[in-house]
Amino acid sequence: MRIVVAMSGGVDSSAVAGLLHEQGHEVIGVTLQLYDHGAATGRKGACCAGQDIHDARRVADRLGISHYVIDAEERFAKAVIAGFADSYANGETPVPCITCNQTVKFADLSVLARDLGAERLATGHYVRRLDGPDGAELHRAVDPARDQSWFLFATTRQQLDMCLFPLGGMEDKRAVRDVAQRLGLGVAEKPDSQDICFVPAGSYADIIGKIRPDALEAGQIVTADGRVVGSHDGIARYTVGQGKRLGDAAMLDGQRQVVISTEPGRRRVVVGPRGTGTRMMTLRDVNWLIPAPAQDLRCAVKLRAREEPRAAIVRIDSGLTTVVLDEPALPAPGQACVFYLEERILGGGIINRSVV
């Protein structure tokens, strides 16, 4: 069948293109140009496309498949980068990869795939799509070290129906590299990409500063009862749960302190003793991969990309989705709370600032 493969130029999506091509499918490689690479790296004269697009094209050449570069710069700037900066300015810690998956990758590419007469959209994500009694289900990858299901909770059921994730069943990354090696792909030993793709060398504050300079204005560090215990250089540099960058406020009254919330309006960072936590949070932008439950749903939730699931109850009350954790934790607003039932992803949402 005709399959569109989202090719980033990395080893994972390259191996996907190679595997599907090897299985005899008509593979169409598509690479999204998300931002001006030359501008992002600040290298004068660097091509707007960068090495990754070049690599994707060379893989397509090697496989002998069609390959196209789609200009998604404007869409990415509006849907992902602007929201990224706004979220920080609102005292949150956003996950741009989730927004990107939700908009540019799965929404736009599944439309493109249909426009091109393709039956499936395949990506190099480490998740499994299984056919269940009620349609497609999303499950964690076989390799827990690589599992990316937390980043994909916002995929709609309709999109999921169309998706293929050939790497979800791979034993580990080495196995994927071996596939690329066997198919003669030049990217077989290419290093994994790091952090956020549009942030050069991890200086995300520079990007936020350009779009929302207010998020980098200096302010006070205070305790929950309003005592001023230090100063900071922009709330965008602080995430709930963080213990670094607190200066003298890192240790108060003999107790190690962490950020427990930020107050964007007053430009304040609020600290509290480590171990402070809450059991309740509300979510927005909730997506269900099962029919939305009518009663309390007991499941496990993950509040960060890399953490063990924790027991919780998810409750929908007059349209508002609330999560009650069994044990207190420090959910960071802007991050995702994703619901699991063992290996299966049931849904998730973005954690609101107003932690109850």
Binding site: I28, Q33, C47, C48, A49, I53, R57, S66, Y68, V69, I70, D71, L112, D115, L116, G117
Partner: protein, 372 residues
């Protein structure tokens, strides 16, 4: 895999047989045209014969033709050599070869028909400031032919210089520098059926030439340094000769047939249909992104293009169509440009593929008003 039907002549087109023969023959020769010895003289003769053919074909003397690496270098050389002490004025639809060389230029607008506004040009020139004007002879995206003779007359009246990018026009309509009245003309070999990698800057006898871009060993009478690619130049000349004998009416008839097929699917043609190159059509499918049309057609074996592809291959919204005030349509138009070797079967294949793609990409619109 489909057979490919090629409709992107304005990007590049197949080498014509005469050019191929001339290149292979010239590659047999050894030597550098600057050398004193007999082998050097042999290749020099090949190059000068070619220069005579091309110069004659475009209405000028051989000594006024400078070989370059292509159209881009010819444009850049003209602007570099003729703009000293002059204000730059360019049309809004110039190719990037001109736009990037003419930094800080004043822009002459174009109408919705894709034709540069001569009244606006006259208004600019009437202040009498020394100027270099750049106006292309035919646009690469719409094929619309510009009023270059009129612009030349205006330039001469107000003491300005006129450089003409004739890269797309050369080989498709008669082009004579002497009749146009411009000061210089840029042409490219591979757009007219010759090999890529060579082009020429044609200079009118009264054109100033301050300094070359690359001086090197003083080749081309000090106007372009570097050893010329003699075999490519021989192929260039052969293609110019072959182009003079080509039946452009045949091409125009086939182009019109392709256009009718697209119009029947709800497409619209951009640019003045009466003043166009015979091989070019700029066709918009309302509501469908140009990039998607190009990909969908490619998957059907139809090679067309949209806008100006940058080196990454991503499709950018056309500055030409934007300048024409086409709004969202500017991002929904593809360029269909017929090569010298196009056949009727290619047009049939285009019509079938276009219908299939249009039906898939805009099913609701096709059933609605667009078809009525």
């Amino acid at each position: 895999m489909h057979e490919t039907h090629y409709f992107d002549a304005n990007a590049s087109q197949k080498l014509c047989p005469a050019a191929r023969d001339a290149i292979l023959l010239a590659f047999e020769a050894v030597g550098n045209p600057s050398s004193v010895h007999r082998p050097g003289r042999t290749v020099r003769r090949i190059m000068e014969d070619a220069r005579d053919v091309i110069a004659n074909g475009f209405g000028l003397q051989s000594q006024d033709l400078v070989f370059t690496s292509g159209g881009t270098e010819a444009d850049a050389t003209a602007i570099h050599a003729m703009s000293v002490g002059r204000r730059l004025i360019i049309s809004a639809i110039e190719h990037d070869a001109v736009r990037s060389a003419a930094t800080g230029a004043v822009i002459v607008p174009v109408g919705r028909n894709g034709i540069a506004d001569m009244e606006a040009l006259e208004t600019l020139l009437s202040d009498g400031n020394p100027s270099l004007v750049c106006l292309m002879l035919a646009n690469n995206e719409t094929g619309v032919v510009q009023p270059v003779e009129q612009a030349a007359a205006l330039c001469r009246r107000y003491g300005a210089l006129l450089h003409v990018d004739a890269v797309q026009a050369a080989g498709r309509i008669p082009v004579r520098l002497d009749l146009l009245g411009a000061h210089s003309l840029a042409i490219s070999s591979h757009k007219l059926g010759g090999p890529a990698g060579v082009g020429a800057l044609l200079l009118a006898p009264d054109a100033p030439f301050t300094a070359p871009l690359v001086s090197g060993g003083g080749q081309e009478r000090g106007r372009r340094g570097g050893t010329p690619p003699v075999a490519l130049i021989a192929g260039f000349a052969a293609a110019v000769l072959a182009g003079q004998a080509a039946d452009q009416q045949r091409i125009a008839t086939l182009r019109d047939a392709a256009e009718r097929a697209a119009l029947a699917c709800g497409a619209v043609v951009c640019g003045d249909p009466e003043h166009r190159l015979p091989n070019t059509s700029c066709i918009a499918l309302p509501g469908v992104a140009a990039g998607v049309q190009v990909i969908a057609l490619d998957l059907e074996g139809i090679a067309v293009s949209a806008g100006a592809a940058c080196s990454s291959g991503k499709v950018q919204t056309s500055h030409v169509l934007q300048a024409m005030g086409l709004g969202t349509l500017a991002g929904e138009a593809i360029r269909v440009s017929l090569p010298w070797n196009v056949m009727e079967a290619d047009i049939d294949a285009f019509a079938i593929a276009y219908r299939r793609v249009a039906d898939r990409l805009r099913p609701t619109l096709v059933q609605g008003h667009a078809r009525s």
